[in-house]
């Protein structure tokens, strides 16, 4: 028994090195999509352009869609608007925006001003293209937090039942769409798209 005890450090070390080995071949910055396979978290948020309209998970159901977390303050988000518009026009992808409002700092004279924001958004969409069916305004960033968003842009593919099927961190470009997202989207869209 006493003899076995002295092998404990060795066994522990060998166990640890297994993890180190597998850790070598995976990217520590990569996040597993914890949302995948789960329904959208509950929310009730206004429409960005028409605040009288309120969106809930149930209101989005019926057809799969691509949920795009973005903001005019994010250059990459603006840059991908063109390709997403193309996706919408050519492949009929339903794209819904989740508008991420940056925290404002009253000390520096920043206050939330919806008309100004709407004007900024309209300008950007005019300039780069408008892929959105509509935009949900996440002013308190509660929904983004629940979804595990770590930055913008991020994308979720949500099926007709409101279940998240894919999570992509970063922009969408032709390659990302082809290799990572198109198959998932088409699977849940019933393969009817060309």
């Amino acid at each position: 028994m006493r003899k076995v005890l002295f092998y404990v450090p060795l066994v522990l070390f060998l166990g640890l090195s297994l993890f180190l080995l597998s850790g070598l071949f995976s990217d520590p910055r990569e996040r597993d999509a914890v949302m995948v396979g789960k329904p959208l978290p509950a929310f009730s948020l206004p429409d960005l352009m028409n605040p009288a309209q309120t969106w809930t998970p149930d209101a989005l159901k019926g057809q799969p869609f691509l949920l795009n977390v973005w903001g005019v303050w994010c250059p990459t988000c603006n840059a991908e608007l063109g390709y997403m518009t193309q996706l919408r026009n050519e492949q009929g992808v339903r794209i819904i925006g989740l508008y991420y409002v940056l925290p404002e700092d009253p000390m520096f004279g920043q206050v939330f001003n919806l008309p100004v924001l709407q004007a900024e958004v309209a300008t950007k969409l005019q300039q780069f293209g408008d892929p959105y069916q509509f935009n949900i305004l996440d002013q308190q960033r509660r929904l983004s937090l629940d979804l595990g968003v770590s930055g913008a842009p991020e994308h979720f593919i949500v099926d007709a039942e409101g279940i998240v099927r894919a999570h992509h961190i970063g922009d969408i470009n032709p390659q990302v769409w082809r290799t990572k997202l198109a198959a998932v989207y088409q699977q849940f869209a019933g393969g009817s798209q060309p």
């Binding site: 092998y7 450090p9 090195s17 993890f19 180190l20 004279g109």
Partner: protein, 653 residues
Amino acid sequence: MIPELGQLALTFALAFSIILGIVPLLGSFTANERALLVAKPLASAMFVFTLIAFCALSWAFYHDDFTVLNVANNSSSLLPWYFKLTAVWGSHEGSMLMWVMILALWTAAVGFYSKGLPLLMQGRILGVMGLINIGFIAFSLFMSNPFERTLPFFPVEGSDLNPLLQDYGMIIHPPLLYMGYVGFAVSFAFAIAALIGGKFDSTWARWARPWTLAAWLFLTLGIMLGSWWAYKELGWGGWWFWDPVENASFMPWLVGTALIHSLAVTEKRGTFKSWTVLLALGAFSLSLLGAFLVRSGVLVSVHSFAADPERGVFLLIFLLIVIGGSLLLYASRMHSVRSQARYEIFSREVMLWGNNVFLLTATLVVLLGTLFPLVHKELGLGSISIGEPFFNQMFYYLNIPFALLLGLGPWVRWKQQKAAPLLKPMALVAVFSLVVALGTMAATQSITANLALLGLLLGAWVGVSALMEVYQRLQQFGSLSQGVAKLQASHYGMTIAHIGFAVMIVGIAMTLTYSEERDVRMEIGDRVVLAGYEFELQDVYKLNGPNYGGEAAELDVRRIDGTYVTHLHAEKREYTIQRMMMTEAAIHARLSRDLYVSLGEALPGNAWAIRVYVKPFVRWIWLGGLLMSLGALIALLDKRYRRKSPNAEAAHA
């Protein structure tokens, strides 16, 4: 030409390390004296050639030789000469070469100072060091060659040194840290040599002690300097971030601290043998693990070098051989070793056992906190992160019993201690520390804060106890003046190091409790009041550095009553080649508090975002670290480590 000479020198060093790793070790089994005698000159030769290689790389950096890839990637002709030289260890390749050079330096030093060792032991220790050297020199030469050329198409200008590293801290922080990391290789080699020989008398512990102390001294200084550098350079007033790489340096430090104490038991009492050997293996193993974590890219950290799985695989195999091999040897040899000495439950032995338990628990906390995210993810359970709150809370709980024990430990005798004689002095210590703690709280007019009071109490307990213990010890020599001369240097060292720990606890508790900070928008002429100080922004103007531009802010600081305190100069630099922003915080340091200002973004309307901190007692954290290092230095100078052992003389005769 010079870089090629460097590479050639490194190749020679590899050859020497291979001979060193084979010949004396084999000689030690056949009792071949000639084979054992070559160890020392081989160690020196290996060091000389790694030094040549290191100088060759430094030469390339100094002369802006952009035909060398490493120089082109990490230096520029605009850098001042001293940063060109520090850029040598600013990259993975260069720092690896420095690591190799320092490892060879320790090896040569062991050879140089090993006159007191029996020849057999000397040959085995140097042989083991040689084996470790083989791995690192080969890694440097084959996996991360610092001398790689960019020919035939070389750039006319380099891409500059990362601006974070263009700081005076960079000149000595990495060398000190590496001296510490690599220094534990010596304790490791001593342990392996003892394992091979199967002899665990107190002599090996006495030989290993000064080397362990030396490595620990460098590591402590290195970590302290890194903490101070982060505080000053990152611009948000933090001094420890629980970053994976900081943790990687903290783990060998904790185990090294445990090892120093455990070695004392093994030397003086001949017990804790298997435990001490395991700690000696553990300290260096954790250094290696740290090197792996930093250089393989398995963890996300501000310190990481560019990741390359091939390098990671090489290092992991090396880790398996060195750590796995040594633990296997440990398991197969150590189980038959039994300690003879007896001791009671209340004795110095048990006190030091307690020290080890707490230090090892702390190591385990850090190890788990650092690696758990990796394990969690590899098990397919998703990404998580473990941050400051976890570590802070765990260390908060661990520190209370640890400090209480530390105050009591030095009073307790070896073998057995009756409780009664200690009651009076410990009660005195308790009363004094209460007075000191409450007195300080009263002087700073703040009685409410729990953490600060706890920190002061624990700090005073440890500090007062250490002072009274040494006073009582001195009196035992008859008169005080006789005692001062007669008390062993290592005892003074212990006392100073323990006081250093007390100072650090106080610093941490006070800084955590009483720091104040504010982010403000300031125009020129604006004032902001924080913790009784009034900061006035006087001017902001453009900067023109050799390789950076940016802005500088000038502030005056006054007390509320209007007395002038100081003038502060904060900079926000933009490094032109790397296009990186750096804050150079303005700091006015006093023992009781730091005033800290960092300049942020320009805001609309001719204003700037400015961050102001007042951090009480923050200097005490580093002062405590310095005192601990000083303690180690004094203990290192103890005469008995330089006495020849009788059997060594016999071996030479």
